[in-house]
């Protein structure tokens, strides 16, 4: 079984005769079954590392994940990504025997209330300092384009709007932290600046999705704007639509044949 055939098989895009041949192989031959299982893992990796095309991604979500066992595999892979990239676990990604056998791990310690309080206080101080610094260094309504770092840029504007710059592919499950948007009771609007990685479509539709909920499509379409360091989209979201929690923003590029999945962005709202 060739790798490309297996990939198409798993994505449900193989022709009937080829699919039947693989079906029979996986039912009756141990090695071929194992090859299918290995190909599943490879495909999950490609998905998590954002290496699938828009169409493959769609088939992955709609077809490949029809098997509950594969959903579990995906969850495990996501959890491992997160764990391996958690700085509290290991700075290098490789774990020494001593660390591995420690029962009172950093994670266990982190879960103790005293540490949680300390961390919360620390976070509050850092956040307040960050907002203050941003307030004094950023002109109203200015979008900061300087660095494509995973941390978001927050700039309270004169009209009590907040601007958040997001980059595609900053998947929480990939170990990076979601950019955080801190909202005060006076914040009226969050202006999301979505950086576009690829040559952009003429216009986009935007779907905002809270974790655990179905997405809501924002009204209208959005046209990309050009900056010296690449194209971006500005999407205003009223703060009343944003409770505290994790969000993802999905972009669909509008084409003559319909909408195509383009990019996904993640952020977390703190209130």
């Amino acid at each position: 079984m060739r790798a490309m055939n297996l990939k198409s098989y798993l994505l449900g895009t193989l022709s009937e005769p080829e699919r039947t041949a693989i079906d029979r192989g996986l039912l009756t031959n141990e090695d071929e079954f194992e090859q299918v299982l290995l190909a599943e893992d490879d495909l999950i990796e490609e998905y998590l590392r954002d290496k699938l095309s828009a169409s493959e991604r769609r088939h992955f979500e709609q077809c490949f994940l029809a098997d509950p066992e594969r959903q579990q595999k995906l969850q495990l892979a996501r959890a491992l990504h997160r764990y391996a990239n958690d700085p509290s676990k290991s700075s290098s990604g490789s774990v020494t025997a001593a660390t591995a056998s420690t029962s009172d791990s950093w994670w266990a310690m982190w879960r103790r209330p005293v540490w949680q309080w300390a961390a919360a206080c620390g976070l509050l101080v850092v956040t307040l300092f960050g907002i203050r610094a941003a307030f004094y260094s950023t002109a109203p309504d200015q979008i900061v384009h300087s660095s494509p770092s995973p941390t978001m840029t927050v700039a309270p504007t004169g009209t009590e709007d907040v601007t958040a710059e997001l980059f595609p592919g900053q998947d929480r499950a990939m170990g990076t932290r979601s950019p955080r948007v801190k909202l005060s009771p006076n914040t009226r609007m969050v202006k999301l600046t979505l950086r576009l990685r690829k040559p952009s479509y003429p216009s986009y539709q935007v779907i905002l999705q809270a974790d655990d909920e179905e997405g809501q499509r924002l009204p209208g379409s959005f046209n990309p704007q050009t900056a010296p360091d690449g194209n971006y989209l500005t999407v205003p979201v009223p703060t009343k639509a944003l409770g505290a929690g994790d969000y993802r923003v999905k972009l669909e590029g509008v084409t003559p044949n319909g909408a195509e999945r383009a990019e996904t962005y993640y952020f977390t709202v703190d209130r």
């Binding site: 098989y9 798993l10 449900g12 193989l14 699919r19 079906d23 996986l26 039912l27 009756t28 079954f33 299918v36 299982l37 290995l38 893992d41 490879d42 979500e61 709609q62 077809c63 994940l65 029809a66 098997d67 509950p68 066992e69 594969r70 959903q71 595999k73 969850q75 495990l76 892979a77 996501r78 959890a79 491992l80 764990y83 391996a84 990239n85 676990k89 290991s90 290098s92 990604g93 490789s94 774990v95 591995a100 056998s101 420690t102 029962s103 994670w107 266990a108 499950a173 170990g175 999705q209 974790d211 655990d212 909920e213 997405g215 499509r217 994790d246 669909e252 909408a259 195509e260 999945r261």
Partner: protein
């Protein structure tokens, strides 16, 4: 089109006996066939794979006395053949639907993700070198530096395929441990 699961104990026992004379082996074979047939259904994008397999069991179990006289061959292929027919019926009975839009949310991760704590515990049950290998594979920065899987395989003294297999086995081990751990929590 799907029947209620109303197999008698006798029918079910007969089905297991068809798969293997030893009951324990038969039960294992049953699970194995179920898993494989489900994958063939998933390759058609069919979300009703479990229901289809259950229906196949129902029909085969009822037909078994006749079947035992006529059929020679791997029972897995028989299950597959029946499941395939049920799938075609299922497809015919589906109301005309449009393809799902690409904007549908992916399956939610948050609620069903293995608990971090269990993952911590289970990773610590692995050999330290295995744990290190696994984490190295998933570590973004580290992996980028060592040219993806090929470099990691060289570093671990394995061929690319052997690494793939090793990681696969480690994940399997981890998944079993996690399942047990989560049940206890």
């Amino acid at each position: 089109m799907f029947h209620d699961w109303d197999l008698t104990q006798e029918e079910f026992d007969r089905l297991l006996a068809w798969l293997h004379p030893e009951r324990e082996e038969a039960a294992q074979k049953y699970e194995d066939i179920r898993r494989r047939v489900r994958k063939t259904m998933a390759a058609r994008g069919c979300t009703a794979a479990m229901e289809i397999f259950d229906e196949a069991i129902y029909r085969i179990a009822h037909k078994l006395p006749d079947l035992l006289v006529d059929y020679e061959g791997d029972p897995a292929l028989y299950f597959y053949g029946v499941a395939n027919l049920i799938y075609l019926e299922y497809q015919r009975n589906q109301p005309d639907t449009e393809e799902l839009p690409p904007s549908l949310p992916a399956p939610t991760i948050k609620n069903i993700e293995p608990e971090y704590e269990c993952l911590d515990e289970c990773l610590n049950t692995l050999e330290p070198k295995d744990k290190a290998l696994l984490l190295q594979f998933y570590h973004e920065e580290k992996r980028a530096k060592i040219d993806e899987r090929k470099g990691l395989a060289q570093e671990a003294g394995l061929t690319g395929n052997a690494l793939r297999l090793r990681l696969f086995r480690l994940r399997q081990k981890l998944a079993i441990c996690l399942e047990k751990c989560l049940k206890q929590k």
